[in-house]
Symmetry: C2
Subunit: 382 residues, 2 copies
């Protein structure tokens, strides 16, 4: 709980939900007859609706990107260091929108939602969605809000993939794309980690083919999935600096199967905590969204063709120690953009923290986003 | 099944088991009242017992390092490309011994063995063993065989750790140590992967606190553990080259939770297959052996002091794409040896295959081991 709300915070925030009754045709060929999107906004939409920025969240994120939902919150939203008055996404100038993705479990329609056809939760009857579908659903919300063009669409990791997809599908609906710690598609190794996570969930006896909502939840499998994820979010160096081989509470080796090392204790805690706040089916859907993202796939693997319609400008940022989506993957994106003669700024930020760096307040990184956004604000007369 | 046994094979091999009735005092402070060691040998021990080489196996290996146990075997032992007539560990000159480690499940005493105190399988009552304990047990077998000194102790990965431990505890009992793709201790990331694997096994409802032998086996957990391991054995490039993002059998995306990509199918297969040949409790014990290996620990982290009593010579080999035990870890070993003015040859072999490279027939790697062993043979008059 914050004793008082910090001055550079967006403060107490209230979420909203919009319902859409026109069916959404999905990339899979299926359709979602109707759906809801949960979102939060920070700052004020100006009179001509020209100061809107869309922030896209990553795998285990949600629409609560900044501020506090109540005075009892221990922590603010996941990107509170980036969004607020005087922060890089400055809410004194910009109206920032963050939408929970379809398939997630924080208020937007997903596998835990009621299937109108059966009156039961969808579970695995929820259709497979993709980054393209997400962007199409966000486009609906944009229309509903009366916003014609985003000043920028901004995201890290899976959020960066959404930002890129906006420039592919709706290039006229945004000016700038900020794709941070993203990749043009998953590597075989990335897919392998996702597959082990899914197997952990789906082989948990409490999974019951996804129909666990009335009973327990596959907590063991979901905790394992989260533990696997966490290993890939940190660099080896970050893990060493954070835990080394430190024994828990300085105790001697247990010579048993209890926790010996701090890193074990950390992972078990992260696993347990995640189970309380995330739905296992949603984790399955969201890892599939990652696996399926491959905009070059429709162009015989030529990524530059995927951006052929784009006339956007791009800020592409990677982190030196990120081994989940390495800087090399960001360079692939950058080269494809250059091939289209687009306005691209690329930076590889020296940072030891691994993939998680995109969530952290790292000086050169935040300075770069701030300068880029300030420049956009000036051009847009904000 | 081999149609015919290849000429450079050690041929059909028969294992042996030795029983030791004198208690083994373990590093944990516990003792093993009696134990058995299962092993295989290749080549012929010469009259003065001066041509013996010990090969140490890694996490999921066993004593069956070369040749065929029957004409029905589909594959030879795990290091058949290294051991045989005319191969780098040339059985025309050397008598090669490979011992199943304590705690494993291939004939040496381990958690699946009968606890003489209860008449039941030990399960988790089996004491925690360490690399030091393994080497002490191998020393007993060496005495039993009437071997005073190994020409060399050779191992890859966890096997390389055993080879190093020999030079620390019994430097007079061997001439050369060949430590391949090893590390002086596990990193926090290595421990993290082991911990997730253990959690997968121990949270499997079929685990029953390790007392599953009369019932089923925690196959889901063990399969997950193996899948996690496999990701760390291959380099990202090796995975890309092996699987890319190829869809299984060239089929379109399933838009469901069946297998889409080849790498998923590969991992599921590896997981299933491992369950048929390995004991889950043994996997717990062997990963703990890895976590606990830290010869510098007794010397305030100064690895060079660990080798203070050694007067052995060393061949240290690392592989460029190994991210489980990177070349940097082998350099740490090498520097500690140099600090003791020891005779050290170090090579980082360019190989894209990752950690698994130590098992593969890679020209420069095998040439180096061959030349080193030939040199030893000449010095020993073999």
């Amino acid at each position: 709980m914050p004793e008082t709300i910090p001055e550079d915070s967006v403060g107490l925030v209230e979420g909203a939900v919009e319902r859409f009754d026109e069916p959404l045709e999905l990339e899979s060929g299926e359709r979602l007859e109707r759906f809801e999107l949960a979102y939060e906004t920070y700052g004020t939409l100006n009179a001509d609706h020209s100061n809107a920025v869309l922030v896209c969240h990553a795998l285990s994120g949600d629409q609560h990107a900044a501020g506090y939902q109540s005075m009892e919150d221990r922590k603010p939203g996941w990107w509170d260091n980036m969004i607020g008055p005087g922060k890089p996404l400055d809410t004194r100038r910009f109206f920032v929108v963050c939408v929970n993705v379809l398939g997630s479990c924080k208020g937007s329609t997903g596998p835990a939602s009621t299937n109108p056809g059966t009156g039961e939760p969808y579970a695995l009857d929820f259709p497979i969605v993709t980054v393209k579908d997400w962007v199409a659903s966000q486009r609906r919300l944009m229309e509903r809000m009366g916003i014609a063009k985003w000043v920028a669409v901004v995201g890290g990791s899976l959020g960066g993939m959404q930002a890129l997809q906006w420039t592919i599908d709706y290039p006229d609906c945004l000016d700038a794309c900020l794709a941070i710690a993203a990749a043009p598609k998953l590597s075989a190794q990335n897919i392998a980690f996702n597959e082990v996570a899914r197997q952990a969930i789906m082989t948990d006896p409490e999974f019951h083919g996804g129909r666990y909502y009335e009973r327990d939840t596959p907590r063991r499998g979901l905790a394992l999935a989260r533990m696997i994820g966490h290993i890939t979010y940190l660099s080896e160096d970050a893990m060493r600096d954070k835990f080394g081989r430190d024994l828990r509470k300085g105790q001697p080796l247990s010579y048993g199967f209890d926790v010996d090392f701090e890193v074990e204790s950390y992972l078990r805690y992260q696993g347990r905590r995640f189970v309380d706040r995330f739905d296992a089916n949603s984790y399955l859907y969201l890892t599939k969204v990652l696996d399926y993202f491959d905009p070059a796939g429709a162009h015989d693997g030529d990524l530059s063709q995927a951006f052929a319609r784009s006339d956007n400008r791009f800020l592409v940022i990677a982190f030196s120690s990120d081994w989940r989506f390495s800087a090399e993957r960001s360079r692939e994106i950058t080269h494809a953009l250059y091939a289209n003669n687009l306005d691209v700024t690329f930076a590889e930020i020296e940072a030891p923290q691994g993939h998680d760096a995109f969530l952290l307040k790292i000086g050169p990184y935040h300075d770069m986003v701030r300068a880029y956004m300030d420049h956009l604000a000036r051009e847009w007369g904000l």
